[in-house]
Amino acid sequence: MPAEELIGKLDGLGSEFAQALVSLSSEQDIRELQAQFLGKKGRVSALMREMGKLPPDTRRVVGAAFNRVKDGIAGAVDGKLDELVKVAEAADLERTIDVSLPGRVRSAGHVHLLTQVRNEAVAIFGELGFEVAEGPQIENDFNNFEALGFAKDHPARDEQDTFFVDDGKLLLRTHTSPVQIRTMLSQEPPIKIVAPGAVYRRDDDPTHSPMFWQIEGLLIDEQVRFSDLKGVLLHFVKRYFGEDLDIRFRPSFFPFVEPGAEVDMQCSFCTDSDSSKCRVCKGTTWVEIAGAGMVDPVVLTHCKIDPERYTGFAFGMGLERMAMLRYGVSDIKNFYEGDMRFLTQF
């Protein structure tokens, strides 16, 4: 076959390929077509073998034509494949869905509100160096009352109407303060603890529950002052309830502290215009949040700590009250019923 004819055939194959390629739409078909032309047994390769029969001086021209056609086919294939990718992508982008249908949720559970309050309080006091301490809920009279300065038959016991166990030999702790005693008896000062836990009193109405949760704080060291107690509780209120809130101490009596105080924080629920209608503070602009005071020397002596060398403070707060204040829970029973509708709100 003369060189011109060979070149003509090669170019013919080139355009034939281009024509066949147009209608193809899958990579596999394209690759097959490519193999029909460029494969070892392909049509271009067959013509290639003809080239060997040509005189050497024309082989160069034919070789150039051969390369041109081969490159043309390869280029067309690449172009076609690129185009296919783009078409596919464009088609993919056409898809739409109903985004308003519900998500396929794998719900996490909810941490009980009281645990959240507890954890947050523990964390805030933890930053100030207070460690968590715990004690049993069924206590003896010494730890719950006597060591705390509640003499037998003291009227102050009336305020903590007690559940008794084992014919009065034991009791359900009425406050977390026995943890103070247990800690002081087992550990040398400095002592810096918070003790969260369940406590029990015979009391049942929308704001009182026969079981409720308290968090107790105790700091015993040299040179602990009443003003330090104020500072620690002020820090807590600002962190937990709001930076702009102040606290006030009102003198009060608890047998295990002297001086003793009830601690109020500014009511954050009053509307500016009329605090007299405030449901929370009842117009006083203050809400009670804690009982506190300097640990009475009697308590230190009971725990074999020298009250001349060491002083300290203690405070106690009700977790329910904090939760009720902060989250607007109105009936204390909600905390204990295990009602999913309540638990999953927080």
């Binding site: 040179q223 003003s227 002020l234």
Partner: protein, 807 residues
Amino acid sequence: MLASWNWLKELVDFGREVSAEEGARALTSSGLEVEEFRPVGDDFTGVVIAEVVSKEAHPNADKLTVVHVRDSEDGDTTLVICGAPNVPEPGGRVLWAKPGAVLPGGFELGSKKLKGIESAGMLCAEDELGLGDDHDGIIVLGEDAKDLPLGADAATALGLKDVVFDLCIPANRADALGHVGIARELAALLDGRALLPDADLSTVTDNDSTCQSMISVSIADADACPRYVARAIKGLTIKASPLWMQQRLRNVGVRPISNLVDVTNYVMFELGQPLHAFDYEKLRGQRIEVRRANASEKMTTLDDAERELVTADLLICDGEAPVALAGVMGGQTSEIGDGTSTVLLESANFEAMTIRRTAKRMGLHSDSSHRFERAVDPNGADFASRRAALLLAQLGGGKVVAGSVDVYPKVIEPVHVSMRLARCEALSGISVPVETVIETLARQGLEAKENSEGILDVLVPTARADISREVDLIEEVVRIYGFDRVPATLPQTTVRPTKVPDRKRERAHAAMVAAGFSESLTYGFTSPSRIEMLALPEGDRRNTPIKIDNPMTLEQSVMRTSLWSNLLGAVAHNQKRQVHQVRLFEQGHVFLRGPEGIEEPMQLCCVMAGKSDGWLKPGADLDFYDAKGAVISVIEGIYGISNVRFEPNPKATVLHPGISASILDSEGKEIGCVGEIHPSIRKSFDLEGRVFGFELQLEKMTSPIDRRMIALPRFPAISRDVSILVNLEIPSSQVIEIIESCEEPLLASVQILEDYRDPAHVPEGKKGMLWTLTYRVSDKTLTDKVVDKAHKAIESKLLEELGATRR
């Protein structure tokens, strides 16, 4: 305690006008918290003091009286029709609601014709002014109102306008259980001077007889009764107390009875000293003996109850029998009555504990016992006796018999307490100048002298039994100086190393929440029936809960012995409220009796009911494997990996015997159980549908330790499947055991892909299992040939040992 602002104002000279609001604020800030602030007598206007000029019967009505009244000395008279039977004679004084007056409830008066005669307003009865509930007649003012100007606003002139404080008195402040004590506090706080009421008997004493000749007093138990003051008042007439006294008593919550009884209550509320008035004529033997009760002695108290006494009870006896339960309540035999003309007035001091025990045992909590329980000042007894005697003589028209019988064997003296100023500063964090400290204490009636540099010697009056130590004085200084003047500082404390907490509990908690369970905190107590409903086997210690001696309700009468009882109760609670998707857990203490006393182990319990999570509609029914998966989530949450085993446990409690497992730790120790709630227990708790759950004994579980990293694989793995038909009863754990027994070093992991039981495709009694085995070594890429050889060996061992066939 209820206190009247008018009364308090009488007992303090403020030297300026002080409002009730200011007084209340001061008290609250000093520790006598005003819990309620209640204005009284301010809900009517236009009612004035008027004088009856004439009265005559109404011509057209039997029960009506035509009264002419005037409200100024020489003013015109006005006609008022009155329906009450007690219109006083001319000159008597009444309360006239003039036309235009507004009575409680917003009722406005005008002029109105009654049976043909026009009446201008009305004459008022107690109840019409909201002052009491008496409607037997109009209010007729007594002699004490004679000097009040006619026309004066009744509420103001009669002191009806008042503010009642409901005070919360701390248990150590018995001194504040009387108006005088509260007034002393107010004086200290507001720079006033405390005053004492009149107790001068010189004008009312009858010197012809002496008290000693009328009565003798002996105290058999001076510890229980440190002091007894008796006074006699004779020639008395019993009648109603004057309006002002009645009004004050009502305001402090006491019902007026008669002048003789009211005086004792009045002085108790004034001075904090409980008093008792005996009808002298009813006392036998002219003697009083204070003694403990004899065994099986009885007496009838004023409330008509016959009381059985015990030997700890303290009695006031006359020559024959008990006449009062000391400090608690009087007896019937010597009660003041219509015929009483001579009163023997008791002003005694009783020991707190004695009174408290008797009052508590009898459930008799009186105003008197309330005060004695909190310790009354023995040195106030005589003053209170004089004060009451004066009032009795004045209001009852009698005379006080000269002298008194005052048995006070061991006089209690004021104590000296010293206080270091440096200590005060160290404890409080504020520095108060010595002069200020002395002045602050003085205002509280505490005399302080600086004996040596920086040390004060303070004389504490016996009324302040709450002050006996330096720290009490420091409290007093800071309290009166003002808690609000104490700055907020942060403690300068020693830093000490802290313990590493056991993270097991918090990790388990977090894992449960992450696994979709919401935390429940139920009561520590439960009901006996809920424990019974768990149908635990005999001898199981969870069957014998710790009982509460004095429960409030049966539902809360025993301590929980497992978390199941209250959590299954919570499932029922939710289902009854149409909440069916229940996923709850609780991590808390249970209460059990152990060999060394009561144990409070911490447990984790989980319950789940409803369907598994689905999309758009709930997914499939829950089954055992959902609960087991939750267990594994917790274990992985605690330890990083799951190292527990599950074994069938046909003897499971609470759970279905066939659909439950024991949870064993890596050492084979049982740490919990998981499964379906037993159908009969489900029924007892009234639960809908199958309920699943697990329980973990957190205390039995080891603490998590740090794990060492296992190097990540660098070479690819090759997987091969095994599909076999085996007998139905062969558990998957057996297959794993056989595979592991081959100890094939190339084998990296085993996983089951299918547990196939469709009877259409599997012969009866058989099940299909599809396993995938993964081969990998750490130092090279495995070849198919090597893996095939290893896999074949394992496969043949499985077929042989399980009697299985290829599927």
